[in-house]
Symmetry: C2
Subunit: 141 residues, 2 copies
């Protein structure tokens, strides 16, 4: 068996951030392996995630760091960080506090399944239950 290959140098320099300074990140439950969400990090978010052990993303819509769970309490404890062959996508294996990753109150953001009926066009069907009312997660407006 060959020895593990190690990339030397600053680990952050091995990550290929895009022209907006962002890297694509998949968060996966470390036990069920379900994909919970896909988001983005800039270099600072990745550094904070690695040093604190809790996922911090970069919100493209709000243009700032987003400490996952800062409002809902549903933080993500990071168990492992993986990088792909091209260096431009990360997978985080996480423990999802509260069991809810999605702002809709579901476990995962990927709750729409494409279902087809023979001879008809397929359609998106929401398959997963809402575990908590979003207004209870974020406070009523």
């Amino acid at each position: 068996m060959s020895k593990d290959v190690v990339i030397t140098g600053n680990w952050l320099d091995s990550v290929s951030f895009d022209d907006k300074g962002l890297v694509n990140v998949v968060a996966q439950d470390h036990i069920s392996k379900r994909v919970l969400m896909v988001a983005w990090m800039n270099r600072e978010a990745l550094e904070i995630t690695a040093s604190t052990g809790f996922a911090t993303y970069f919100s493209r819509s709000r243009g700032k760091l987003w400490h996952k769970g800062e409002e809902s309490g549903n933080q993500q404890k990071v168990k492992e960080i993986r990088l792909d062959c091209d260096g431009d996508v990360l997978v985080l294996m996480v423990e999802q506090v509260g069991g809810i990753a999605c702002h809709t109150g579901r476990e995962s953001c990927f709750y729409y399944a494409l279902e087809g009926v023979p001879g008809e066009k397929p359609g998106w069907v929401a398959k997963d239950p809402v575990l908590k009312n979003p207004s209870d997660m974020y406070g009523k407006k």
Copy 2:
């Protein structure tokens, strides 16, 4: 228990393609649930994937459709297509023909793990074995 929510209309219109006409796609092994790779699709690639049952992506580097496995034979049979709450990321549950998704001859593209030593900076370590020599997958140049 509430009834499943269904999005009506053309299913392709519910997908939010970005300003380059692309949507982010995670391919996950349907049994082990391992994330195999992350790539992109345009509308045509997604339509072909759904109608043929085999993953077709859009290669950003080559600027054209990429029928996964067209050279290596390592196609991806699609078992399920999921869409996220924002409509801008897909997860494909696939059967990976040949057990190799990565062009390096590994099962998954995510073979680098971030490993740390207390008191020292972490580093990327290649954890997974090469199952097949890439020159045997793509032919010698």
